[in-house]
């Protein structure tokens, strides 16, 4: 658990705070996304967790203990760190890069080597093929995978990730995001994730902290609640006018109550794995009013049908409940 308590940061020689009286709590095993326009202090806030930056006021507690209760370097070795520019060591092999923190904290060689292989496997880089390469021999996407593996190396309970998938093309980013979410289901780290991209925030976050310029927390809630109920004009304009659609992208077809499928042979077939947003697009694209829901992977019996009205009702419900 990470607790921000009235945390502020003002740089010497400036009277404007970069981070302003930030108070919120990140529960264990959650991905908390800090999102906002540039200059909102999201990276600064993240860097205060592992004390790369010290706050001018307030304190940050990790599992109830002040993060100043140990030296900065000790603290940082216990917190995974991955950044957009990756910052792999160009003079070290992939294996040696991943082994950085295990080496710092004195793991023996065997344990480190097997951990490195395990992690390279986890991030989808076959160890036999990649272990002994240098970072310059890898593509941007592969380097970011190594960056994530390196951050995970000593199995830290907390990870700080500053736009860790920022430096790659959108398709690769999407894949890396999905893979990371899959990994997170197993490893259940407590993650502070920084991005400027609201779509990435909605996709990755269990909670989203929207910050506005001057480092003020505008809203802190689940993606669903933020989309359904933005508490200020700033938040609603930041999440965008398509927030209803964005919200649909958070719900999957298989989570919906379906209507019975009697004789819907000419209806468009929709995989139950799709999000409502994609399902809606399929239905509208086929010029239909409803779609036939089938289990993922084409085969199998239809589960039922999903109508545009049902989708509408859901988004309307959200609007009403959000008042």
């Amino acid at each position: 658990m990470i607790e921000f308590k009235n945390v502020s940061k003002t740089y010497a020689g400036s009277d404007r705070a970069v981070v302003n009286d930030l108070t919120f709590t990140i529960q264990n095993g959650e991905i908390c996304v800090l999102v906002g326009p540039s200059g909102c202090g999201k990276t600064t806030s993240m860097r205060m967790v592992n004390r790369l930056i010290e706050p001018t006021q307030g304190e940050i507690l990790i599992d109830g203990q002040k993060n100043t209760s140990m030296s900065g370097t000790q603290l940082r070795r216990k917190i995974g760190y991955a950044i957009q520019q990756i910052g792999l060591f160009p003079h070290r092999t992939i294996a040696s890069n991943v082994a950085t923190v295990p080496n710092l904290v004195g793991w023996d060689k065997e344990r480190t080597a097997s951990r490195v292989d395990e992690l390279l496997d986890l991030v989808g880089l076959p160890p036999d093929q990649y272990r002994d390469r240098y970072p310059a021999e890898l593509s941007g996407g592969q380097q970011q995978r190594v960056g994530v593996a390196r951050a995970l190396a000593a199995d830290p309970p907390i990870m700080l990730m500053d736009e860790p998938f920022g430096a790659v093309d959108p398709i690769t980013r999407d894949r890396l995001q999905n893979e990371f979410l899959n990994i997170q289901q197993d490893i259940k780290k407590t993650i502070v994730f920084v991005t400027h991209d609201i779509d990435e925030a909605i996709k990755m976050g269990d909670k989203i902290a929207i910050l506005k310029e001057g480092g003020i927390l505008a809203q802190y809630d689940t993606p669903e609640n933020i989309l359904a109920n933005p508490t200020s004009d700033f938040v609603s304009s930041f999440v965008g006018t398509d927030r209803v659609l964005k919200r649909l992208s958070l719900v999957r077809v298989r989570d919906m109550d379906l209507e019975p499928a009697n004789g819907g042979d000419n209806l468009p077939r929709i995989s139950d794995k799709l999000t409502l947003k994609d399902a809606l697009s399929e239905i509208i694209g086929a010029g239909a009013e409803r779609g036939l829901v089938v289990p993922d992977g084409n085969g199998g019996n239809p589960r039922g049908t999903l109508s545009i009205d049902a989708i509408k009702a859901l988004s309307h419900e959200a609007e009403v409940s959000s008042g």
């Binding site: 940082r76 990756i86 910052g87 792999l88 160009p90 390469r133 240098y134 021999e137």
Partner: protein, 245 residues
């Protein structure tokens, strides 16, 4: 070789080159003399030269690396260091030796020569240490710090290894410069290939000064290649081609 009166190198060279038939018996290089005296005169001079240059370079590196690290950290130091070492660099070698011996009062021999050679190397070396450290990507340092490396660990495990090729490139320039200037060191009794050259000129014996000059040149080329080699060996990561899949 014979009893020509004007003992200048140019004249000797010209005379040897355009000598009449009878004088040409010996030729420009007296191979027989060279064979007889190679181990006794030439080889020791070469080794003295190598010793003189490499010991000077080693001392200069020992001084430059810490100064360069300091200058990279405390930026205000850098212009001062380049101004002072740049000043040394501009002093003509004869003047430098003269100052060291007659003004500072060092006794003639190896010591003033080594001091001069060290002073000449500092500018290039310090500059390359700073450039090398500057070339380390900031995100690499940030990642290192973020993972919990101490400042010292960052310096020794990240910054210096990454700066090393640039530092070695500086050593390459320095050694070539020093090999050339060390020749003049013979003038103040430092020994080395300069002995052969000055001797050859005074005795009007081309074999000597040509041997000295050729060896000094070969030594410079050889050292240059040696450091190119070292540069490559020390940065295996840069050699591998981009093989992204």
């Amino acid at each position: 070789m014979d009893s020509q009166d004007p003992p200048t190198a140019i004249l000797a060279f010209l005379q040897a080159e355009f000598a009449t038939g009878e004088q040409k018996k010996v030729g420009l290089i007296d191979w027989e003399w060279l064979r007889d005296n190679f181990m006794e005169d030439v080889v020791p001079a070469l080794f003295q030269h190598i010793y003189l240059c490499f010991i000077s370079l080693a001392i200069a590196v020992v001084i430059s690396v810490p100064l360069g690290i300091l200058a990279a950290r405390y930026r205000w130091l850098y212009p001062w260091l380049t101004a002072i070492t740049g000043f040394f660099y501009t002093i003509p070698s004869f003047s430098m030796f003269t100052v060291l011996i007659f003004v500072i009062g060092l006794s003639v021999g190896r010591t003033p020569a080594i001091i001069a050679l060290v002073l000449y190397s500092l500018l290039v070396l310090i500059r390359n240490v700073v450039t090398g450290l500057d070339s380390v990507p900031p995100e690499t340092k940030d990642a290192a710090r973020g993972m919990g490396l101490t400042d010292r660990q960052i310096l020794f495990r990240v910054e210096l290894p990454l700066a090393l090729p640039v530092i070695v490139a500086g050593m390459r320039i320095a050694i070539v410069t020093v090999i050339g200037i060390a020749v003049i060191g013979a003038y103040i009794g430092a020994g080395g290939l300069g002995d052969l050259i000055f001797d050859g000129i005074t005795r009007d014996f081309p074999t000597l000064y040509i041997t000295g000059a050729v060896l000094a040149t070969l030594l410079a080329i050889g050292s240059d290649l040696l450091f190119v080699r070292a540069e490559r060996m020390l940065s295996p990561w840069a050699r591998r081609s981009r093989g992204a899949t």
